[in-house]
């Protein structure tokens, strides 16, 4: 039987060690699973907000108490977050890497699409469809209004608070 070179054993040990340590790190990391989330000084919704967190942000878990996690952000800010706003797997979000790659391959007139995104009005593709399908102006206006419909994040927050929902649970 041929003997394995010494460096093969060394490389193997490094790979196993890295694997073990990264899995430990992953087990202690959570990600923000909400459009926005507040990091608070204590574990109640009445405590002072120490940071506003963004969707997908990685947080290191320091402690768990009831529905709250004590965490540390990448910038080193420590605080408490409502556990239901976190997930242990990294969320992929609206466009994952593959979708972005697919878009870059397609010969879409990207600037026109981008210009219409978020702006009031049907986009050109839908307008073309509406013309072909004979959709009435009244129904076009309805979808137009729906697209433009906005509610401020603060209003949603107040609604949760009033209903004793989310981190405002009694």
């Amino acid at each position: 039987m041929r003997r394995q070179p010494w460096w093969a054993l060394w490389v193997g040990t490094v790979i196993v060690t890295v694997g073990v340590f990264s899995s430990i790190t992953l087990a202690e990391t959570v990600f923000v699973q909400a459009k926005t989330a507040k990091l608070r000084a204590g574990k109640t919704s009445l405590d002072r907000v120490v940071a506003d967190l963004k969707f997908g942000e990685a947080l290191e878990v320091l402690k768990k108490e009831g529905n709250w996690l004590e965490v540390s952000t990448a910038a080193g800010v420590k605080g408490w977050i409502f556990a239901n706003k976190t997930t242990t797997t990294k969320p992929s979000g609206g466009d994952d890497a593959l979708a972005k790659l697919g878009k870059s391959f397609r010969r879409t007139e990207a600037s026109e699409v981008t210009a219409s995104a978020g702006a009031r009005g049907l986009d050109k593709a839908s307008e073309t469809y509406a013309n072909k399908a004979g959709i009435t102006q009244q129904h076009r206006d309805a979808v137009d209004r729906m697209t433009a419909y906005q509610i401020a994040d603060q209003e949603v927050e107040d609604f949760l608070k009033e209903g004793g929902l989310g981190e405002y649970a009694k």
Partner: protein, 287 residues
């Protein structure tokens, strides 16, 4: 000749395999065209087109598709209610549930359809509809949250987009966004009409409906709504007869759905919270 074929394959493979490959593919295509080798340029272009057809649909393209499907839903279900207070209330409940769903980073919009059938629909990119008929069956905010959660799950799990992706592959279409609608409006219409038929007439696959039931209840429970509320609503809908149940012919039977929701409550450890918010629903749903 053999060398040329090998070269073509190598360039195509290289151009699509490396990092930043779309740019590289364009550069390779341009270089081939400049050198007068149109065949090679076309082969490189074809390689990229083939790959793009297999890659998932991005949000901008999803948005065009969602808006076009929304137009058909509105047209076929009597238009959208103009009761602004009621619309705002449904949007607040929907936004609360969507805020902690598995895809909270896209806009979700909710509208009420002027239709008496008991129905709810979701189009890609967060266009969600409930009928006036369905709202009449709902007794509290927790039930409404679960219904909206079900539709949000269809969007977050990209169930309708999967249907479109399959149709695109079958039709050999590489994109269904603005450029495609512009170049080939008839084919774009065909793609949307097929998705609308699946959504409104045939129904999505049964396992997708079960997944939406389970995830919808989880999403609503994450916000704090009582997870047993949805079981209550499904039990009540189960007793309906005749035309009122027409829509549900496209869904799995109620016993299967109730069982699936109870199963997820157990596996996810969802406990009754008692948060039904019946009074707020009664007050605000009167619009």
């Amino acid at each position: 000749m053999r060398n040329k074929i090998v070269g073509t394959i190598a360039v195509v493979a290289l151009s699509v395999a490396l990092g930043g490959c779309a740019e590289m593919q364009r550069a390779a295509e341009g270089a081939a065209r400049q050198s007068g080798d149109e065949r090679l340029a076309r082969a490189i272009h074809g390689g990229g087109t083939l790959i793009s057809g297999l890659l998932p649909i991005g949000y901008e393209e999803e948005s065009s598709i969602g808006q076009a499907i929304a137009l058909q839903v509105v047209a076929r279900y009597g238009g959208v209610s103009d009761q602004s207070d009621l619309t705002k209330y449904v949007n607040l409940v929907g936004r609360a549930v969507a805020s902690t769903c598995d895809r909270p980073d896209i806009p979700y919009r909710f509208a009420i359809l002027n239709h008496e059938s008991i129905n709810a629909f979701a189009a890609p990119a967060g266009y969600i509809f409930v009928t006036r008929g369905l709202l009449k069956q709902v007794r509290n905010e927790a039930e409404l949250a679960a219904v909206l959660g079900h539709e949000i799950a269809h969007v977050s799990q990209k169930h309708i987009l999967e249907v479109i992706q399959r149709s695109k592959r079958l039709a050999g279409v590489t994109e269904a966004g603005l450029a495609y609608a512009h170049q080939n409006p008839e084919a774009f219409k065909g793609l949307i009409d097929a998705a609308v038929k699946k959504l409104l007439d045939e129904g999505l696959d049964q396992e997708k409906e079960i997944e939406a039931d389970q995830l919808g209840d989880v999403f609503a429970a994450r916000v704090g709504y009582d997870p047993t509320a949805y079981v209550g609503l499904l039990n009540r809908l189960k007793t309906l007869k005749g035309d009122d149940r027409a829509f549900f012919k496209t869904h799995p039977n109620f016993s299967t759905r109730i069982e699936a929701v109870q199963k997820v409550m157990q596996s996810e450890g969802l406990k009754p919270t008692g948060v039904m918010l019946g009074d707020r629903f009664t007050k605000l749903s009167k619009g």
